[in-house]
């Protein structure tokens, strides 16, 4: 096999090796650890870019581990959707890590190790073609996220972390129950093979399959923070350190990705026991998530908590696009995904700079001392707020416009339009209120405040440049997301690519 043939496993192996090397290097100076972490994270960019190129023409790169034929061995599958997710993850990770180098990484031990293992779990979850391995990669990314969430310690962080860990452990147990039931009925866990086996399942087992698939949906909804399973998110994301929260902006998207991937295979068929299983559920839940996310943002007492609620709202928008079950809407959603990830990550990072600059009141919405460099930080907040709220001229507006245009043809157009437009307006009002409270209702500071360093603001600027890039390159990008949506909507090609060798 040529080197290019091993490309699909590189995004999994690279962070794993880097994590182990960093663990061995734990006694060397911080500079070396940072260097290794940075190199390993930056190296994911060309790898993801290469995968994007290799899958661009619609091929599925199937990597057979140990060269065991699917469905007997474990497979990694890289298609357009997986490559897209890998690229977004790598971009967010690079800027979150650059921000963390300003001092967050030395507040506790093993930050760089956990960061790399988190990327290992994320990339693996995007690439795996096997349900049990999806569980394993979920556990890896969760275990790393527990460590990162608690990094630096502190009372509120430990309390939020305990809730986060316990609810995710219960989620993992439910995941295993679902996996076990699916295996017990079909005798396979390869996702492509499962999709084939479902069609041949006798009708008396249909109810078992449906309950397992819905249990699985519940687990993914928990990871994606879908209503009513989103209550853990605001506290966990609001109390952790800024670069970790920025990286976690992609974590809820893992849940959304899993819903899209698994149900495009399981329920995307025209017939079979699971056809159209989620049609009645996903759209109302997604719209409710969007509405409650923005309402939560309106009721937030601090900027970081507000950013966390906007993460919930962005998942709502994304899953609305998935739930509409229409290729155009899905393309809009996949264009919205990087936009919302970059925008909320930038908001988390900026909130940290604001909290440091304001001193005692922190990021709470109450009058406080004027911060140094307020014009610069304020302008950045303004641009970030426009991006998060989905206002013109940035890409969030384009994505929502495409989503609404796709929704017009469906029977639920009234609901989708009403909720998306109303939450958009409310989001603008909420962010405008936050901005005016933080930047205008100020008094002269008694003591000198620490100046937000340019090194801390640069990752925010870079993330906003990415959003701008999405806006400028909207034409080619939406063409690409339309290609992803077309590929996801035709699961037959995925199944044939994975099982091609075995039949």
């Amino acid at each position: 096999m040529t080197l290019a043939g091993h490309l699909p496993i590189l995004p999994v192996v690279l962070p794993l090796v880097a994590g182990i090397v960093l663990l061995a290097l734990r006694r060397v100076p911080t500079g070396v650890q940072r260097g290794v972490g940075l190199v390993a994270t930056f190296a994911l960019l060309p790898v993801a870019g290469g995968l994007l190129q290799a899958t661009g023409d619609g091929t599925h790169l199937v990597y057979l581990l140990g060269n065991w034929e699917a469905p007997y061995g474990i497979v990694l599958v890289a298609d357009r959707l997986a490559a897209w997710m890998l690229l977004v993850t790598a971009l967010v990770a690079v800027f979150a890590l650059l921000y963390a180098l300003n001092g967050t990484d030395t507040e506790g031990r093993h930050f760089h190790v956990l960061f790399q293992l988190q990327l290992f779990g994320l990339n693996g979850a995007f690439l795996t073609g096997d349900l049990f391995n999806l569980f394993v990669f979920f556990e890896i990314l969760l275990l790393a996220s527990y460590g990162l969430l608690l990094h630096g310690g502190g009372r509120l962080r430990v309390k939020a972390g305990l809730h986060y860990v316990v609810i995710n452990l219960v989620g993992s147990t439910l995941f295993l129950f679902a996996v076990g039931t699916l295996y017990g009925v079909t005798g396979t866990l390869n996702m492509a093979d499962l999709a084939v086996k479902f069609a041949a399942t006798p009708p008396e087992n249909a109810a078992l399959l449906q309950s397992a698939a819905l249990l699985l949906f519940g687990v993914f909804a928990l990871k994606a923070a879908l209503v009513p399973l989103y209550l853990w998110l605001p506290a966990a994301y609001g109390h952790t350190s800024a670069p970790v929260a920025a990286l976690f902006a992609i974590m809820t998207k893992v849940g959304a990705y899993s819903i899209l991937r698994v149900y495009s295979l399981f329920a995307g068929m025209d017939s079979g026991p699971l056809a159209g299983l989620l049609d009645a559920w996903l759209l109302p839940l997604a719209l409710a998530t969007l509405a409650l996310g923005v309402l939560g943002a309106a009721a937030s007492s601090g900027l970081r908590q507000q950013a966390a609620y906007f993460v919930v709202a962005s998942v709502g928008t994304l899953l609305t696009a998935v739930g509409l079950g229409d290729a155009d809407a899905l393309a809009a959603g996949l264009y919205y995904l990087p936009h919302s990830t970059f925008a909320t990550a930038a908001l988390f990072l900026l909130a940290d700079s604001i909290a440091r600059g304001r001193g005692e009141p922190g990021d709470r919405f109450e009058p406080g001392p004027a911060m140094p460099r307020a014009p610069l930080v304020g302008s950045l907040f303004f641009v970030t707020a426009i991006a998060v709220a989905g206002m013109p001229p940035l890409s969030g507006f384009l994505a929502k416009f495409m989503l609404l245009r796709a929704a017009l043809d469906t029977s639920t157009a009234g609901w989708v339009l009403a909720v998306v437009l109303a939450t958009g307006l409310l989001g603008v009002i909420v962010l405008a209120r936050s901005g005016s409270l933080l930047f205008y209702r100020t008094h002269t500071p008694q003591s000198t405040m620490p100046v937000p360093s340019l090194a801390a603001l640069m990752p925010v600027v870079a993330l906003l440049v990415l959003v701008l890039g999405l806006t400028v390159a909207a034409g080619p990008t939406t063409e690409y997301t339309a290609a992803i949506a077309a590929q996801v909507s035709a699961p037959q090609a995925y199944i044939e690519a994975v099982l091609g060798g075995a039949r």
């Binding site: 049990f132 430990v158 309390k159 996996v179 076990g180 295996y183």
Partner: protein, 114 residues
């Protein structure tokens, strides 16, 4: 045999859910452990119950049991073992930081007695 195993899994799950809903961290940890025992058993029996038959190919065997669930359950045991260790340490840390073992870290005695 099937009924007995089903009953065991059901009782373990019910006990696990009950304990996981308690307000102190220690019963919650015990509940999560019981849940993971239940799911491990569940995964194991998904390969169907068989007595005295080998999982790997041998000339003398007349029937085989499915080896895959045994591999799956091994992975699941390792993961749940690691997770349990982690959550115990976290619960101890929460006890140290918050001053009590309530899952919400209550502020004073009045909250705790209610």
């Amino acid at each position: 045999m099937e009924a007995l195993i089903a009953l065991v899994i059901g009782v373990l799950t019910a006990g696990g859910v009950f304990l996981a809903l308690r307000a102190q961290t220690f019963p919650v940890v015990l509940g999560l452990t019981l849940l993971s025992y239940a799911v491990n058993l569940f995964l194991f029996v998904m390969g169907r119950l068989a007595v005295g038959v080998p999982p790997v190919i041998s000339d003398a065997a007349t029937a085989y049991t499915d080896p895959l669930p045994q591999a799956l359950v091994l992975t699941a045991i390792v993961i749940s073992f690691g997770m349990t260790a982690f959550v115990i340490v976290l619960a101890l840390k929460a006890r140290a930081e918050l001053g009590n073992d309530h899952v919400d870290g209550l502020e004073d005695e009045e909250d705790r007695s209610s």
